[in-house]
């Protein structure tokens, strides 16, 4: 039976993540610029009678827009960028093959300033090897029923399935 090696991150995945980051950056940048323009307009058109209301409006606009930008940057753009860096490392570095019985455990391992991962155990002839797979790829890996994993620095980069 032929074996087939499946990459966790393909060129198409890299392109998709890159597009997503660019779209979000443009969106968040536009929102920030629009909010700033509104606030500057409010400040420029304020007079003695309207200053307090204008200030309140400027604080509300800049706060809400800032919160949206912060949320997008911290919880959308940043995780995708970290995953892109992780994927680039997996695609670049030398890999080691781990054949055996593979189990994706529920154990979640968050790596500071990097991706969130799940623990993967490979039970082979040389004992149990403990590896990590990016959380976004864990379900796909478990469903694929691989016969071997390819990993670099302890992170799963690709898997092998019976074709």
């Amino acid at each position: 039976m032929d074996a087939q090696i499946v990459e966790l991150y393909t060129d198409a995945d890299m392109e998709r993540m890159d597009r997503r980051v660019r779209r979000w950056r443009i969106g968040l940048g536009s929102l920030a610029a629009a909010a700033l323009a509104v606030c500057v307009t409010l400040a420029a058109t304020a007079d003695t009678l309207t200053a307090q209301r204008m200030e309140l409006a400027a604080v509300a606009v800049s706060t809400l827009a800032g919160w949206i930008v912060l949320y997008g940057a911290m919880f959308v753009v940043s995780p995708v960028r970290r995953e892109m860096a992780h994927a680039a490392m997996l695609r670049r570095e030398e890999r080691q093959r781990f054949p055996g019985e593979i189990a994706v455990t529920g154990q979640r391992v968050a790596i500071r300033r990097s991706v969130v991962t799940r623990r993967v155990e490979v039970t082979g002839e040389e004992g149990v090897s403990r590896l990590l797979v990016s959380e976004s790829q864990a379900a796909a890996l478990a469903a694929a029923r691989p016969i071997a994993l390819y990993a670099c620095h302890g992170y799963v980069a690709a898997y092998e399935v019976d074709a």
């Binding site: 200053a51 400027a58 912060l70």
Partner: protein, 165 residues
């Protein structure tokens, strides 16, 4: 649910942004709505309450030439320890306290005392639509440290107040 969880995990960042936003725009609007003493006339009222913004806006409708704005404050404003009081242009003080301030104040016209702006007995006075006077007479003076004594702007604003309903 996930959004809320994310927000609470970085709550300090969101709260910091709110504070920064309040401080920054507060500073900007203070800058926008203030100017150097030479370009504004400041009125201080030793009264229980004054609609400062509305009164200032009304006075600005007919501002003396060369001014950018008129500001109206109660005396509480001076408690923040600024030297603003020394540079005040027009003062409205109660009769019971004018002796406390008389060394810092000047009459509107030489040789006279303060101009009575509120008569407690009749309840009539100047700018009663904006100023809530106490239960005594009130007098108006010019500030001895005003930079608008020579150009007449302080006197012009004082007369505007006297003519206000």
């Amino acid at each position: 649910m996930r959004v809320l969880k994310n927000i609470f995990s970085q709550l300090h960042t969101f709260v910091l942004w709110l504070l920064a936003s309040i401080l920054f725009w507060g500073w900007i609007f203070t800058f926008v709505t203030d100017t150097v003493p030479a370009k504004k006339v400041t009125v201080y009222c030793r009264v229980p309450a004054v609609e400062d913004t509305a009164m200032a806006a009304a006075l600005e409708e007919d501002m003396p030439e060369g001014l950018r704005m008129v500001q109206v404050h109660t005396f509480d404003y001076v408690m923040f320890g600024t030297d603003a009081f020394d540079r005040g242009d027009v003062f409205i003080v109660p009769a019971s306290e004018d002796a406390d301030f008389v060394k810092d104040l000047l009459p509107l016209e030489e040789g006279q005392g303060g101009v009575k702006v509120y008569d407690a007995a009749t309840g009539e006075g100047a700018a009663t639509g904006y100023i809530q006077y106490g239960d005594e007479d009130y007098y108006m003076y010019l500030g001895s440290g005003s930079v608008h004594l020579d150009d007449g702007a302080a006197l012009a604003v004082a007369r505007q107040i006297l003519a206000m309903d």
